[in-house]
C-alpha cells in the first residue's frame, strides 16, 4: 500500500464534488483526491498537459468519472483512455447519477472497470463512495506503470 496512490475525480458539479470529498474524508481518502471539472481537464491531467504539465508523473490509482460533463463527457474520456497506449490500463470507474441502459452498455463495451450509480440517499452514497475508494485506492493492485 502506497500513500502516494491518488484518486482522480472528474465531476463538473461542485456540490457533487463536495459530497464525494466528504464521503472520502470519512475514510481518510480525501487528501489523495485530485478534482478536475470536465473531460478535457481530465485528459490534460492524465497527459500532464496544460495546467498539469508540472505535476508528478504517473497515473492515478483510479479515475472516478462522471458521465454528464460539459465539453467532453465521461464516455468520450473513457474512449480516449482506452485507445491511448500509455493510459489504456488505467482503472476507470463510472460514478454517475443514473443507470440508463445505453450508457451501461457503451461503458462496458469500452472496457470500464466498474459502473457505480450514486445513490440518492446520503448514507448509501457515503457507503458506496467509501467502498469504491477503499477498493480501488487501497485494496486493488494497480497495473504496472508503463513509460
Amino acid at each position: 500500500m502506497s500513500d502516494a496512490r491518488t484518486i482522480l475525480l472528474a465531476e463538473d458539479n461542485p456540490r457533487d464534488v463536495e459530497l464525494t470529498l466528504e464521503a472520502l474524508a470519512e475514510h481518510n481518502l480525501a487528501s489523495q483526491v485530485t478534482v478536475v471539472k470536465d473531460g478535457v481537464e481530465a485528459l490534460e491531467y492524465l497527459h500532464c498537459e496544460g495546467k498539469y504539465k508540472d505535476r508528478r508523473k504517473g497515473n492515478p490509482a483510479v479515475l472516478l468519472l462522471d458521465i454528464k460533463m460539459p465539453r467532453l463527457d465521461g464516455i468520450e474520456v473513457l474512449k480516449a483512455i482506452r485507445s491511448d497506449p500509455v493510459l489504456r490500463m488505467l482503472s476507470v470507474v463510472m460514478l454517475t447519477s443514473s443507470r440508463e441502459e445505453p450508457d451501461l452498455k457503451k461503458c462496458y463495451e469500452l472496457g470500464v472497470n466498474a459502473y457505480v450509480v450514486k445513490p440518492v440517499d446520503f448514507e448509501d452514497f457515503i457507503e458506496a463512495v467509501k467502498q469504491v475508494g477503499v477498493f480501488w485506492a487501497v485494496i486493488n493492485e494497480m497495473p504496472p506503470q508503463g513509460g
Binding site: L19, I67, K68, P119, V120, D121
Partner: protein, 487 residues
C-alpha cells in the same frame, strides 16, 4: 359424346353443327332421290316389258290360230332389238311351249319360267314377264319374256354413285363455307377470350377488348370493357390512396421517432439531472444533522427529518417514473417463456424480502407463453408484492395464483384475502401514481399496477380487478394463447 363436344372450341362446335345439319339434309335428299328412282324406273321397266309382251302377243294370234310356230318364232326374233331380253317363248292355251327365242341356255330359262304363268316377277337379276294372248275374247296362249337386268342395275349403280358424289361434293362445299362463316361468330369471341386471358395473366387492367360486331358479342365486349374501366379506375384510386397512406404512415413514423427520441432524451435527462439536486439536498441535510447538531433545536431536527423524508420520497417517485417510462419504450424481447419458472423466481425474492410473514400460497400450474421474460417478471413481482402488502394486516394471509384458458386467452389471476378496496374506485386502480390507500396504511407510489397494465397491453392482453372491502382482491390479466408456443 356430349362431354367431348363440350370440351371443343366454339369454332369446332359451330362447324360441327353446320356440317351435321348439311350432311343430314344431303343424305335425306339423296335417299329421297334414290327411293323415287327405284320406284319409278322399276315401274317403267315393267311397263316397257309389258308393252313388248303385248306387242308380241298381238302379233302372234295368227301363228297360234294357224298352228304356225315358225311365224311365232319370227315374231319373237324381233326381240333382238332389245338386248336386255335374253329369252322369250309363246305358250299355247295348254301351257306348252309353242315357240322360243333364246340368246341364253334354254334350260336356264325353263328353270326360271317354272311356276305361275302370269303377271311378272323378279328372279335373281332377271325379270320374268307374262302377257296373255287373246283372240275374240278367248285366251289362246301366253307370251313370256325373260329380261336380264344386269345392265339396268349397272345404270342404277352409276346413278347411286352420282348421288353419292353430289353428296360428297356438297359436303365439301359445306365444310369450306362453314369454316369461313363460323369466323363471324368465333373470331370476336376468340379475341374477347384472348384479351381476358391476357388481362388475367398480366393484371393489366388498362387493356381493352376490340369490338368487331354489333350483336350479342358486341354487347358483351362493351359490358366487359365497361367493367375493366371500373376496375381500372378503382385500382388507380386505390393506388392513390395507398400512396397517400404510405406517405402519411412515413410522416407519422418520422414524427413518432422524433417524439420517441425526445422522450428518450427527456427520460435520460430526468434520470441524470433530476436526481443530482435530490442527492445534494439529501447529502447536505445529512451533513447538517451530523456536523451542526449542537446548533439545532428539536424542531429544527424535525424539519430536517421531514425534508430528508420528502427527498427520499421524490427519489423513489423519479425512479418509479423512469421505470414506467422504460416499460413503455424498451423493445420487447418476445420468446417462449415458462411462466412456472418466472413465478418461482418472483416468489423466492418475495420470501427474502418478507421474512416472518405467514402466507398460505396456492399456486396453480402455469402454461408456457410467448412474451418478454423480464417484463413478465415485473408483472408478477408487482402483483404478488401487492398481494403480500395488502394482506399484511391479516393473521394468516392467503394468496392464490392461477390461470384458466378462455376464448383464445390465458386468464391469469392473483387472489388475496387482504384489505380489498371499494369497487367504485376500480377505474383508478391501474392509473399512474394512483393509490387507493393512504401512505400511513400502506407504502408505495402507485406505479406498480400502471406498469402491469402497460406491460400486459404491450403483450396484447387485458387487465382488470375485482375486490370487496375487507374481503380481498383479485387482479386478472390475460395473454393471448399463441400457436408457436409448445404446450
Amino acid at each position: 359424346m356430349l362431354g367431348i363436344i363440350r370440351k371443343q372450341s366454339i369454332k369446332a362446335k359451330l362447324m360441327l353443327i353446320i356440317m351435321l345439319t348439311s350432311i343430314v339434309c344431303l343424305l335425306l335428299t339423296g335417299a329421297a332421290v334414290v327411293v323415287y328412282e327405284r320406284y319409278h324406273v322399276t315401274r317403267d321397266l315393267v311397263s316397257d316389258m309389258n308393252a313388248l309382251a303385248m306387242l308380241i302377243a298381238d302379233r302372234s294370234t295368227a301363228a297360234l290360230t294357224f298352228q304356225d310356230p315358225r311365224l311365232a318364232e319370227e315374231n319373237l326374233a324381233a326381240l333382238h332389238v332389245k338386248p336386255a331380253v335374253v329369252a322369250a317363248c309363246i305358250l299355247n292355251e295348254n301351257g306348252d311351249v309353242f315357240a322360243r327365242y333364246n340368246t341364253i341356255d334354254a334350260s336356264e330359262f325353263d328353270l326360271a319360267a317354272g311356276g305361275k304363268k302370269q303377271g311378272h316377277r323378279f328372279i335373281h337379276d332377271h325379270l320374268l314377264h307374262y302377257a296373255p294372248i287373246f283372240l275374240g275374247g278367248k285366251e289362246i296362249g301366253t307370251v313370256c319374256i325373260y329380261a336380264d337386268l344386269k345392265g339396268f342395275y349397272r345404270q342404277r349403280s352409276y346413278f347411286m354413285l352420282l348421288v353419292a358424289m353430289v353428296i360428297l361434293f356438297s359436303s365439301l362445299i359445306a365444310l369450306y363455307l362453314s369454316s369461313r362463316l363460323q369466323l363471324l361468330v368465333s373470331r370476336p369471341l376468340r379475341q374477347l377470350t384472348e384479351t381476358t386471358q391476357s388481362i388475367a395473366a398480366k393484371k393489366n387492367y388498362a387493356l381493352r377488348a376490340e369490338k368487331s360486331s354489333d350483336d350479342e358479342i358486341g354487347i358483351l365486349v362493351d359490358a366487359f370493357n365497361g367493367m375493366l374501366e371500373t376496375i381500372d379506375a378503382q385500382n388507380q384510386e386505390r393506388e392513390k390512396l395507398n400512396a397517400e397512406l404510405e406517405e402519411r404512415v412515413a410522416k407519422r413514423t418520422t414524427q413518432l421517432e422524433a417524439a420517441n427520441r425526445e422522450l428518450e432524451a427527456f427520460s435520460y435527462s430526468v434520470s441524470h439531472d433530476l436526481r443530482a439536486p435530490l442527492r445534494h439536498a439529501s447529502g447536505f441535510v445529512d451533513l447538517l444533522l451530523k456536523r451542526c447538531q449542537a446548533d439545532l433545536s428539536e424542531k429544527g431536527r424535525h424539519y430536517l427529518d421531514a425534508i430528508a423524508d420528502s427527498v427520499r420520497q421524490m427519489g423513489v417517485l423519479i425512479d418509479d417514473l423512469l421505470q414506467f417510462s422504460r416499460t413503455g419504450r424498451t423493445e420487447l424481447r418476445l420468446r417462449d417463456t415458462n411462466m412456472n419458472e418466472v413465478l418461482a423466481d418472483v416468489r423466492a425474492s418475495l420470501r427474502q424480502d418478507n421474512p416472518g410473514r405467514e402466507i398460505e400460497w396456492i399456486v396453480g400450474d402455469m402454461p408456457r407463453v410467448f412474451g418478454d421474460e423480464a417484463m413478465l417478471k415485473l408483472v408478477w413481482m408487482n402483483l404478488l408484492s401487492n398481494a403480500v402488502k395488502f394482506t399484511r394486516t391479516r393473521k394468516k394471509a392467503m394468496i392464490e395464483v392461477g390461470v384458466r384458458p378462455e376464448g383464445g386467452e390465458h386468464v391469469f389471476f392473483v387472489r388475496d384475502n387482504g384489505v380489498g378496496f371499494d369497487m367504485q374506485y376500480a377505474h383508478k386502480l391501474f392509473g399512474v401514481f394512483q393509490r387507493l390507500h393512504s401512505l400511513d396504511e400502506f407504502e408505495g407510489t402507485g406505479i406498480g399496477l400502471a406498469n402491469v397494465r402497460r406491460i400486459v397491453l404491450r403483450h396484447e392482453g387485458r387487465t382488470w380487478a375485482e375486490s370487496e372491502l375487507d374481503k380481498g382482491t383479485t387482479i386478472y390479466f390475460t395473454l393471448p394463447i399463441r400457436k408457436e408456443v409448445k404446450p
